[in-house]
């Protein structure tokens, strides 16, 4: 039972990280970034590249991946979002979908179709907690996510940039009236969101293999999590991601692993029937 809970929370943490990155960009710009899942994949490949080609230690490769994705997020803002920002919502959505295929294509050309393994900095071992055997890496996933979520909350609450981000998310025009350089703020939001995707990628890679499909399914589940939590809400993205991860792990183990991917959507349907706006309802005036 404890084993399953840890596995569910760990998987849910990944979904939550991806959902938070996705929602943060949505809140700042009103745009959805369908390339976000493939940014997870790119993050894992970036770390793989750093460990193999640069022969960097694993933790350094994580840093490389996060920095590279930060830059990639900025480029996405500059060359995909910004030219289209005055166009309808759908134009940006389709463009990011196209970007996702670009990422895949480039990764395929560079790394080929072979799955590769990215080791964990804590190795493949397990620890025993109260009789249950729990993988160290799963605990690392949970720990890293917890630290990130808490520092992010403190950042939004207590720093000038964090408050500027919230102001920009709430009303971009008013933020500009206060003299905030919203372009720059949104640029950093894209960098941060993509950086979170990289973290999810390097955390997930040791559990799965590094493949071209690594991030795609993850984004789908993360979006389900974000909707379950109440789309647009950051606490909602966290809680929703965790719920989806737990449902998937418990469902697969107790009911049937053949239906592994259906549990997330089952939860989604149930939640939407009971609470159509998700668990943490985002009020109209909170939306972008």
């Amino acid at each position: 039972m404890l084993q399953l809970t840890v596995a569910g929370v760990a998987l849910g943490s990944i979904y939550a990280l991806v959902a938070i990155g996705f929602v943060i960009i949505y809140r700042a710009t009103g745009a959805v970034n369908f390339a976000h899942g493939d940014m997870v994949t790119v993050g894992a490949f970036a770390a793989l590249w750093a460990t193999t080609v640069l022969e960097a230690p694993i933790l350094v490769s994580w840093l490389v991946a996060v920095l590279m994705l930060g830059v990639l997020g900025m480029l996405t803002y500059r060359f995909v979002y910004r030219p289209l920002r005055h166009h309808p919502f759908l134009a940006v959505a389709i463009a990011t979908l196209g970007l996702a295929f670009v990422f895949r294509g480039v990764l395929f050309v560079i790394f080929g179709p072979q799955p590769a393994a990215l080791p964990s900095p804590v190795g493949g071992g397990a620890v025993s907690i109260g009789g249950a055997v729990v993988s160290r890496h799963l605990l690392l996933i949970i720990g890293v996510t917890a630290v990130l979520v808490v520092s992010q909350a403190l950042f939004f609450r207590h720093t000038f940039l964090g408050k500027s981000l919230r102001a920009t998310a709430e009303n971009q025009e008013v933020a500009r009236m206060l003299g905030l350089r919203t372009n720059r703020i949104i640029l950093w939001t894209f960098a941060y969101g993509a950086g979170l995707a990289a973290v999810a990628g390097v955390l997930l890679a040791p559990v799965r293999f590094v493949t071209l499909d690594l991030g795609f399914g993850v984004l789908l589940k993360a979006i389900v999590g974000a909707i379950v939590g109440g789309f647009g809400s950051l606490p909602g993205a966290l809680v929703g991601g965790l719920i989806v991860g737990l449902a998937e792990v418990f469902g697969a183990s107790l009911i049937s692993s053949a239906f592994r991917d259906t549990f997330a959507f089952g939860i989604l349907i149930i939640i939407l029937l009971v609470r159509p706006h998700g668990l943490f309802q985002v009020k109209a005036e909170e939306k972008v």
């Binding site: 000038f160 102001a167 009303n171 008013v174 500009r176 009236m177 206060l178 003299g179 905030l180 005036e285």
Partner: protein
Amino acid sequence: MIQVKGLEVRYGAVTALQDVSLQVDEGECVAVLGANGAGKTSLLRAISGFAPTAAGEIRFKDESIVGQRPENIVRSGMSHVPEGRGILGQLTVRENLELATAPWRRRGDSIDEDLERVHSLFPKLAERRDQRAISLSGGEAQMLAIGRGLMARPRVMLLDEPSLGLAPVIVTRVFDVLEEVAAQQLALLIVEQNAKQALRVADRVYVLSQGNVVMEGPAAEVRDDPKMAEAYFGV
């Protein structure tokens, strides 16, 4: 401080302002009066860079600011207190005030003195500093909007209908504060429907009707002019 010459603002086929010229001198309080749809909001939005200037010239501190980004115009010393107040409801009162210091604040600068000054003008804001701004009443929200404008340490402050939706006694209080602020070397450009209050605090007045300036002069003269009523309530 602000010179506007031959300003034209258009939204598609609709002309909102036509050949509008006006001037605000250092420390002066200027009111622009006009009915709904006269183009008052477009005028302020064009000056602060939010509405596109189709023709004409806008100068601020002797530099042309046409085509500049609004946030950079604000950063160069022009506060804009928008119609409907533009309160960031999910942020606290204090956070709203704090963010408005973006134009001048550098790492480590204290904002306490500026906060103190706004709190002494609007004691209610001090009481409510840690509440979310969405919980404020209309009058308090207007005070916060003005307080925010002051936190930027502007040379000139644009105010869009500060009386909008407020009870008469609150309107009087708001304009009392504006009078006090105007006495402190800060130039004000107020657009208003409430002519009585605006004429009380303004040095000079422009009357705007259907996108054109139809009258201008010292507030005292306009106050007693019968043509004024015509510009206002006539066609």
